[in-house]
Symmetry: C2
Subunit: 206 residues, 2 copies
Amino acid sequence: MQQSAQFSTRQKILGAAEELFAERGFAGASLRQVTAAAKVNLAAVNYHFGSKDNLIEEVFRRRLDELSRRRLERLATLEAAGDASLDTVLDAFITPALELSLDRKGGSVFMRVLARAFAEHNSNLRTFLSDNYGYVLKDFAAAFARLLPQLDKEELYWRLDIAVGALTYAMADFGMIQRRSGESEREHREQMAKHLIHFTAAGLRA
Amino acid sequence: MQQSAQFSTRQKILGAAEELFAERGFAGASLRQVTAAAKVNLAAVNYHFGSKDNLIEEVFRRRLDELSRRRLERLATLEAAGDASLDTVLDAFITPALELSLDRKGGSVFMRVLARAFAEHNSNLRTFLSDNYGYVLKDFAAAFARLLPQLDKEELYWRLDIAVGALTYAMADFGMIQRRSGESEREHREQMAKHLIHFTAAGLRA
DNA sequence: GTCTATATTTGGATAGAC
DNA sequence: GTCTATCCAAATATAGAC
């Protein structure tokens, strides 16, 4: 870690890796492609991260620490104010991801990297994510359980599982809907989030 | 193409490739791994398919031709009988995929391969799928448009996009719900399909 | 159609100078 | 911290015998 003013080599590598992992997958993006895109030397990856696997984990850590914090913060605020409802809890989950995706160049591609992690049955990666960020899903599941007391545990879990799938897929922008000309990226994603909350709330409530 | 009695080399390669693509992704599975798993010679891939990219396309073609036919057949049957409703049209889309996934060893992993195709922004692959199988989604979209006349075109497309995401993710079994001990694979998947139709219908109707 | 052997490229990782 | 140069393993693909 360092505190340089400009983008450090480390940051340049993380940014380039994120983009290439989103585009080509973890196996599909080579370290040569990553370092070329980052305009740093090939050897810098091993110097800063030790291995490709460690680099992959750092790509997640850089975004997920902050994202998880914001999601739980919003959830806690809602519950403290007694404002928890299906729509607001879904909003607490989705809006931080939406903001991240609108942040700057890196944010929107990270959502695609995250969706790829689900497609990978790589057990190292799944274990890493579950160990480090599983508590976020657990807290949200508990909140939904309180809001949907008429559903038994099994029914609730099925619906949450389906909801997470819809959210993951949509936030990664894997769908067929293209942004209309004249519509900004921000407007497009805000529309998506709005529809997503509406659809998912209806599915959970069904 | 050939008509041999046993599994031909070609079929053995397709089966092994399907499994390895599901598990490790298209870039992550090497032709060496594929031919080793298929117990055929390394050179056989290039002999039968010409290249790795062609092999990938054949893995899709082998399943999607049949799957698309069955989906459209069910849809046509429903409409001819005047039985089209949100639930039955969703069923017409999902049940053939469910049956395929229960078929034999190959079917369930193919659903994961299909989901991987969405995560790949590989434009060759997307173009191939859209060119060859896009008409299926178009026909179903038209059916939903007739069933949901109160939704304007834009609203409908957003919801269908989200629905396709939920279906893709769930049919690939990417979720966190594990099959319970004492529950068969068939029961597990039938439960999933049931919840999926219910959830998605509610979201579309919202 | 299938094999062995090999050409050729690309990948992750490291050594050692600066 | 960064570079060049290089090692070594693994990849795709092909040539040519059978």
